[in-house]
Each structure stands twice: as C-alpha cells, then as structure tokens.
Symmetry: C2
Amino acid sequence: MTAHPLAPLLAPSSVAIFGASNDPTRISGRSLRYYREAGYKGGLYPINPTRDTVQGLTAYPDLASVPGAVDCAVIAVPANLAIEAMESCVTKGVKGVVMFTAGFAEIGPEGRAMQERITQIARDSGIRLCGPNCLPLGMVTQSGAFGTHLLALAARRGIQVGVWMSTGNEADVAVADGISFMADDPETQAIACYVEAIKDGALFAEAVARARKNGKPVIAMKVGGSAVGAAAAASHTASLAGSDAVYDAALRQLGVERARTPEDLIEIAYACTRGRLPASRRLAVMTMSGGAGVLMADAAEEEGVELTPLSEESQKEVLSWVPFAAPRNPVDVTAQALNDPSILDKSFELLFGKENFPAMIGFFTTWASSPQMAEPLFKSVTGAAARYPDRYFALSAIASPEMQRRYEAAGVGLFEDPWAAVAAVAGAMRCAERIATPPLPMPPVPKNLPPLPQGRIAEHEAKRILAEAGVPILDERLVTNAGQAAAAAVEIGERLVLKIVSPDIPHKTEMGGVMLDVPASEAGAAFDQIVQRVSARAPRAKIDGVLLSPMVKGGVEMILGVQNDPVFGPVVMLGLGGIFVEVLRDVTFRIAPFGIEEAHNMIRELRGAAILEGARGQPPCDIDALAVALSKLSVFVAAQKGQFTSIDVNPLLVRPKGQGAAALDALILTPSAVANDDEVAP
Amino acid sequence: MTAHPLAPLLAPSSVAIFGASNDPTRISGRSLRYYREAGYKGGLYPINPTRDTVQGLTAYPDLASVPGAVDCAVIAVPANLAIEAMESCVTKGVKGVVMFTAGFAEIGPEGRAMQERITQIARDSGIRLCGPNCLPLGMVTQSGAFGTHLLALAARRGIQVGVWMSTGNEADVAVADGISFMADDPETQAIACYVEAIKDGALFAEAVARARKNGKPVIAMKVGGSAVGAAAAASHTASLAGSDAVYDAALRQLGVERARTPEDLIEIAYACTRGRLPASRRLAVMTMSGGAGVLMADAAEEEGVELTPLSEESQKEVLSWVPFAAPRNPVDVTAQALNDPSILDKSFELLFGKENFPAMIGFFTTWASSPQMAEPLFKSVTGAAARYPDRYFALSAIASPEMQRRYEAAGVGLFEDPWAAVAAVAGAMRCAERIATPPLPMPPVPKNLPPLPQGRIAEHEAKRILAEAGVPILDERLVTNAGQAAAAAVEIGERLVLKIVSPDIPHKTEMGGVMLDVPASEAGAAFDQIVQRVSARAPRAKIDGVLLSPMVKGGVEMILGVQNDPVFGPVVMLGLGGIFVEVLRDVTFRIAPFGIEEAHNMIRELRGAAILEGARGQPPCDIDALAVALSKLSVFVAAQKGQFTSIDVNPLLVRPKGQGAAALDALILTPSAVANDDEVAP
C-alpha cells in the first residue's frame, strides 16, 4: 500500500513552521495556533532564530536543529528568505511544503524567477509544494466526516484551505459563526459551506452580509432537499430543517451561491480563489477545437454567461492569421497555433486588449503537457495574465499537477472539462456580481403596531387589517339590511359582489352565500335573497351581515401567502393562481421584510411570469402594484412576527397596467383560532 | 517540463504488442491493426515467437530482441504468460503497459494473487499499468480535437478505450457507422458518443437499436443546444442540425443515455464498463458519514433511484452492531467500523444477501487510502463483489491510482464525489433498464396510401383525410343551402357550430364566419345569416358552403403538430393548449411512426400532464383516445413522408374518460400550397 502522495500535506506526522510568531493573533502566529487548537498530535517545531520558545513550544534557530524527522514545513517568511528555507527542507528530507509567502510571480519578473527556482527545487527533490501565495479557502461544514472528505477533495484540486470548521450538531457554534469568523479573517479569500440545516436564519443572514461586505464569495451546498435526504438529515443533525424551496430562495436572496454537488462546491471555490474575480458576465472563449467551442457556448447559455461577438474588425484580424478560423466568439483558431505559436499572444492581446473582455477561457486540451507546446503556451498565457492583472483568465486543459501549480501561481485556474470550466467561472461571475452590487435596501419594520386581534378574524376584518398595512383592497362595505345595501351600492359601482358574513359559514359558495355580478339597482333585493337563501340552508348560523364590493373583471389572479418558517421566520410566498400553483407548483419565496426591487426579482422568478407581462393578447398587468403589495405585506408580517400562524391573500387580482391590484379574499389565522374558511387554499 | 505521467499510454513513441496475431480480425490481431489504421507513426513491434512477420511487420520472438527503446507494451497473452511478459517489460525499460489479458482477480484467489504480483511489478518499476482485463469503451466523436481530449479524460479516469473513431465532417463515415461497428465488436462493452449533428436519423436509429440488441449501453453527448452553440456547430461541421428539443426526444425514444457534460459522459461510461450493470433502480447506500448519506439520498431522488428502506428486522440487526447507526437506507454505520471492521462484511452480507439489493454504493471517504483501513476495506468490498458477481458495487472513496485499479480489477468502480457516484450509477441503471426492456412495438406503416391532394386543402377536407388515418373528428357536414343545413342539423345534435368554407377567407372568425352554440332548430336561419354576414364583409369571396358540426363542451384542448425534421424526418409534437404551449413551451416530440405505448410515454412527459388526469376538480380525460390518435397520426405521416410540409391538429379536444377525442380544427400544408389559415397556430 502506497501512502497517498498528498499525505505529507494532508496528514503530516510532524510540522515545522518557519517564521512562527509568538503572537497567536498575527498571521505569522496563526498556523501554529491553528495546529494546536485543532488538537494536532504530531511534532510541532516553530523555527524562529530570535526566540527560545514560541507560544510555549521550544523554538529552533533553523530546520537542521530540529531533532528527528520533519514531514511537512509551513513557510511564512519573506520571499527573499523562502528559497533558503526551501533548501533546508530538501536537506532535512521534508516531504511537503505549504508556502504562504507572497511576492513571487504575482509581483513581476524577479518574483517569477524566484518562484520558478522554488518550483524547481520542489520538483527535483520530490517535495509536494502547496503555494506560494496560496489563496486560502475557508470551509465550514456541518458533518465532520463529510467535511474531512471535502477537505481532501479540495487538497486534490490544489485549493489551500486556510481555516476549516466542522460545527456538527451546533450545540454552540453554528455555520453562521464560522462564516462570520472567516468574513473577518484576512487570509480567507472565499468561504465554502456544507450545510444540513441552518439553526438561526437571522444569524446566518448577518454572517453572509458581513462576508459580502468584505468582498468574499460565500458558496454553499445545502443538502436534505429530498424526502429521504431530509429524514436522514434530521436524524443525523437532530435539527429541524425548513423546506428546501425556502432555503433555496433564502440563499438567493442573501446572495449565497448555491452549489448542487460537492464537485460544484469545490470547482466554484477553486474559481473564486484565483486571486481575482471576473468583473462581469462577458466572456471570451478561445479554442483550438471547434467541438469544444460549441459545448462551451452551450454551457455559457445554460449558465447565463454572455459570449458577445467580436467586432467585425477584430474578426477580420483573426481571419488574417487563420483564414479557416471561426472568429466570432467562441474564437476557434484551430490547431494552427501549433505551427504558429504567435497566434496565442496575438489572440490574448486582441481579446483582453482591443476587445476588452473582462474574462477569458481558453481550451487547449493536452497542449499544456505536450513537449512542443507546453512552454510556449505557459509563457503566452501567464504573460497575458501578468499584463492584464485585472482580468480573469482560466484554461480548460490537461496538465501534470506540477504544471497546474505553475499556472495557478500566475493566477490562472485549470479545468480538465471545458463545460466544468464555464460552469465554475460562471459561479465566480455570479459571486463577483453580488459583491459588486450593494445589497438591496431593506424597508424599515415599524415597531409598536397594534396587535392583531386574536381568535377568528372575519374576511372583511382581515382585508381591513391588510389594507392598513398597504395591501390594496376594493371599496367594500358591510351592510346589515336591504336599505343599507341599496344605499351602499350607489357608492360602490354598477355591478356588485355580495358575500354573506358569518362566523358559522366557512363554505360561503356552497351555502349560497355568494352572488356575483349583481346590478347596483338590484342590491337591496339581492341582500334579502342571499340572507334568505343562507338562512334556509343553515338556519342556526349567526349572520353578521353581507359584504358588498364592486365586481371587477380583467387581470391576473395571484396567490400570496405567509408562513412562519422554523429557520427564517415569516416567509412570503408568491404564485400565479389556477393551474400554475395547483399543477405546476410554480411558486417562489422571500424572507420578510424585503423592498420593492426584491419583490420584482421574486415576480421574475415565476415560470409563468410572462402571463403578467401580457401573454396571449391580454394587456400587461400592473406589476408595479403587485411588487408594492408584496413588499408591504412582507413589512407587515415582519412587524407582526409571532402574532399569526399564516396569512393568505387568495386571490390578489392584478389588474391591467395603471389600474392597480386588489385582494379579493384574505385569511389571517392566529395561534388561538382554527381555520374557518377553506375557500382560501394554502 | 515533466512529461505527463500517462504519456507512455496516451502518446507512446513506440509500442510492442505481445501475442500479436497475423489475423487482423482476431482479438489478438486487432491492437496492431488499430494502431496501423489510426496512422500511428511510432515504432510498432509485434512479439510472436512462432512467426517472422505479423501483418507484414517484422515479428520478434521476445521483447529483448526488439532493437531500440520501447515506450509502451500491449499484453494480450494468456494469464500464465503475462507475468513473464511484464518482467521483460521492466528489463526493457517500458514505461506503460496495457494489459488486455483476462483471468486475474475476477476468477478467484489464484488469479488475484497473479494480479497482485503484476501490480507489484508495475509499482516497483514505475510502469503505468492499464488493466488487466480492462473493459473497453468504444468512443465515437465528431470533433477530432475534442475527441482526443475526451480520450485523454477517459484514460485519466482509468477507462480503457478499445476503439475510437473520429468522424469529422462525415463526408463518408458517420457517427452511426461507428456505433454500428462497435455494436458488433466483441471487445466493446459500452459506446460513448460526442455528437454535433446527426446526418441520417434512420441510420442512427438502426445503429443504436443494434447496440441495444447486443446489450451495449449507448451514452451520447449532443452539443449545439444553445443558439450560439448551434451556430458554432454549423460553421464547424458544415451540417444542418435539427432542433435540440427534437434531438433530445429522439435520443430518449431510441434508448440513448444523453450526457449533459463531458464529465457526465466519462463518468456514466465508467459506470457502464465495470463488467456488470445494475439489475434495477433499487439501490442500497451504505456510509460512514451521515452527511454523505443525506446528499446521496438527495442525488438518488433527483436521478430517479429508489432507496427502499431495509426491513424492520434488518434495521434491528444494524442497530445491534452500532446502536447509534441510521439503519434505514442510507445505512449509516458511522465511523464505528474503524473500531470493528467486521461491520463491513456484516453490512455487505446483509444488503446483498438478506436484503437482496441489486446495487450498492458505499461511502468510505479516505479509508481506501488510510494505513489502517485500506486493506480491510479492500478485502471486504472485493470479497462481497466476488461472492455476488451479479450485483453492482461502487464506492465513493478517495484512493491512490494504484488502489483504484485494484478495485476496478475486481469490478468495483470508485468515485471521489458521492453525488457523482449516484449520478453515474443512475446512468448505468437507466442503460441497463433499456437493454433489459424489449423495444416498444413499431406499428407497420401502410404502403401505397392514396397521395395527398396538392394545393390548398380546406379544413373539412384535411379533417376527413386525418379521420381516414384514424384521428377522430366530429360528425360534420358541408352544406350549401339553408334547407340542407336544417336537414343535416337534425342528424348532428342539439347544439351546433357553423363555419364558413371559403378558400378566400383565411380568418374565419374576424369575417363573422363562425357561429357557436346554435340550436339545431335554428340551423337554417343561421346558415343564411352567416353567408349574408360574410358576403357583406368580403363580397368577392367564393363561398363553398358552411360546415356544420356538433357543439361539444368539456375536456382539455391539446395541440398536435407534425414537422419534417431535417435529421429524423416526420416528427410529431404534442402540447397542452393555451398557456402551456404559449407561455411555458411545454411540448414534447417523437419520431414517426410510434405505437400507443410510446404515445403514452410522450403524454407523461408533459409538465402539465396532471391536467389530463383530472386536476382542479375536473373529470379525468380520455388519455387512451389521445394516445391512439397520436400513434395513428404518426403512422399516417410516416406513410405520407415527403407529401406534406406540416400538419397541425389544433385543438384536439380530449373529452372525459370514455368519450374519446376529436380534432376540432386541422391544417395540412403541402409543398405546393401556402398557409391559408392562421387560426391554426404553429
């Protein structure tokens, strides 16, 4: 049985730390502290010629003085001392080196030469080298065992994980605490999470906002979305998980990149820790294979990445180099660069320079490891990356691990699968976009609102409460006799709806308690008729009166609902009425409160959103009014948190543009009441 | 620059072939033939002590006799001679060996010992070993450059690609030819394709059917689905690509597993070349990490894999070993097996034996490379795989390449990412299911049908033609005066629909040419009224008469359409009427002809299929009648191929169960006619 080649890095039996500081809070003191806090059982040797002890451990003036073998060395000394340290590692027989030192290839030709020297030493001696200037990923995982697995996958991918926390059942420290810590940690560039259940939604939101403010992408894999998975998660972490649809919407709302699989998590994290992020979704694809270009174009469309075509002039330029090239974007220069490697420099210059693409992916298959092309390609790619330090450059290529590390040291990530390259870079683009966009304004939540009435809340009362909160309703009146009905009718409109109001009649329609499209002139007679009809069918029912409202036609019926999510508190649901909700389950969620812009995002997420924009010859609806109603409802439920069990507005009629919206029916359930109206479906 | 470690296997500068036969059609003669046919430029040395020349090349009695260096050796001699051959490779300084020989670990302890000896030789000498008993994948790729890339990815994954064909622009040989060849090739276990555009749909269908009959999964990645991708594919392969939605449906109909990304293609191919396929979709998940169990359950649900729970009794048994285990499925035995490795054997026995699972995935993270657990785990897993040779066993684990090869030699595949493990095994399950299921019966296509009339075909004529083909229509009559109308009305029903029939009036409704819900007693008067109305608005229109049909209510409106796909010929489209087609683009396709069962599959694929089953309090529809109509239409269009441009049945009203279906409108466009009725939407 051969030991794993990365074992000296992943599970060293002893570690020496060059430049270990006595101050555990300083960057140069942290590695030692982390090893000790993690309960590391092997030998720990601080190398520090100025002190006898470091953080309570015996310090050594140099590596040679350390008694016995050293498996792994952490080098955090300035660049000019790093080569000396590296050479002493060779002498000592060290097998793995983690190089935190910065100031190599990223600072120019001199640094690049130093870095190449270090890489050469590692290669000649067989030392596995991680870094230099590795950009650490912070990782928070709930499951310890699976966290270890992710850690191993990250190491195999060449990602340096700076801090890893496993929070387990979260009796105390939660995922949010981990994110919060890493948001402030200067060494952490991006944060990857593996989540089974979030304990406190508000804390999580706060932690993510902090990371976003500090410019750090948060990528999360949330499991337990399936029925079996959720049951397994519950038995595994002993925590009550909210619904996956709510999690999904919440992560989106908070600006977290959700990864679907462990591999996605690792690949997006890799793309986000290359020392730069793509400035926009505009991507240049350069390829030597038309086939790879086609599939990268497919991947780009699926991932929402824009392959904007090159200018006519630039396309002509590409064709002047390679007459049979595809010059649009993907730019397929074919295998011609094998004959004329200057095509590489010219293409990169054209795409980053003249065409000003913020990001590029180059497909170069096995060229990165071919005897003929490996060095010319490396020189061209890393040259372009150095000349354009604000651009994002990734390759889809197959290379030896050593070559991969060389590219990575120059800020260029490598992906074997061109589809995976586009998907991961797209993830980094979304992350960068979120960081660059200020969070949407949060509406203030009023304090000291009058408490909700407890017990059963009648329909008209529920609507009145919501109307005060800003959810529009129609002009409606409760009347108790035919005379009142006739008088009110004149003020309401030409055609009316009458509904019986009785705490004892939950199914109004079935009991004859609803009349539609009644002419105003017949309102008095209709009052008598409806009361008589209901009394005949339900002689013991207490009738409080009849609700009169205008009959409105035209528009689209929406369903709004509010539930108390165990994780995120009041959550607002939106769906299109009818088959969209009932057959297609086309609904979306937001954590309350949220503003009007977020409400618009929510509306756009519906698969049937085109209906609101005026599909099938209908006029466009008043989407603005819907967005306002949603936001107002969210503010109201945030303020009334704990006062209600659920709220349904079903339907909210969204009328043609400019005519607003109106809640046609509403139900507020309070903890002390039982549902008394099943006409309002959940 | 270090050469790629797999370079001796992927791009050897010279190759010796042990046991090369002079007969290029024999398995032992094929390797040599393939190298030569592929235009291999390096040194080729057949090793065959019984001949002076092999296939025209100088043969050598042994490897030592070969002049100069040998980079790679192909060993295809019997198992008892393989060790000797391997040793001569060490002496000669060979860097890579492809071992085709069977009869090692898969045949029992003796073979296993031999195999371990060979692995040991490889390890000690640094030779990269591929095999033994590698199960070759056949690979057909359109793009040559990208094909090479896929080949490299397959090699890195440890998949032996036996035959690779790149078909390029397909002036002659097409993807279908490649599949056909490999379907018959005894060495090929599964076929992976990379497709930009299929040239001849019928040829492709035939090739896939042949592979299916011979028990070989076909996995295809079809690119060019996006707009940019399709344009790039067209310019790259110079072939007219059909619509991606049609490709997608056709691949499903033909029983091809469609891979979304290159990695999916490689991973499913890997899962399909482990020497066995899973017998059903029932899967046992065993794990030492609860977190991994949760995510594998999520992946299983997404992939349609069934994690059936263990019996109560078996669950109790698991708990008797590990009281804090999760015993249901996923079976989480926790890290307890570290303390008591007998839990492994007991679990495998329980799951394959007592619980009779046809397939299992075990998550064992880094155990496969840990000094303590690697060997006990290997022994348990491969022992179970040997005791249950008809079961499918895969691991999600991180192991050294050598350890991976050892597992693979025992028929156990390894996946680092547990999600990827479930997804790939699910792909293999679907492939196995297709192979096990006989193809659905194909209805015979009648020959010598009367040719379609050319020119404009009026609505009632189109309906009559379709009715003869078996698509149901209502009882309708063309009448030319009020008297005829009154007489016909009595026979048709109580309520009628009247439609004007005129070649000059495409927009019947707008010209007042449609009357709905007319009582039969008023049919005569209505005739006069409709003719008068249309004549007033379009005085020059030639009126052929009025079409009378019964007014029917209730049911669901479907849209059926037929297009001539450039690749697959006549293709039938099905969608639900209204918003489903117009807003959600909820349509599906099938290549014509197809039977009733396939039509049912088609209907089930619609996202809104629940509507037909009686959603929202409506009675269930006559889905059987819809399926029959679809199949009959498909047979008709297959018979009339080339005679029409497009056919639309919009709507086909599917009435409540037992009441059948009826085409309410129909349009047949022939090459010589122009669309004359835009009421029938495309």
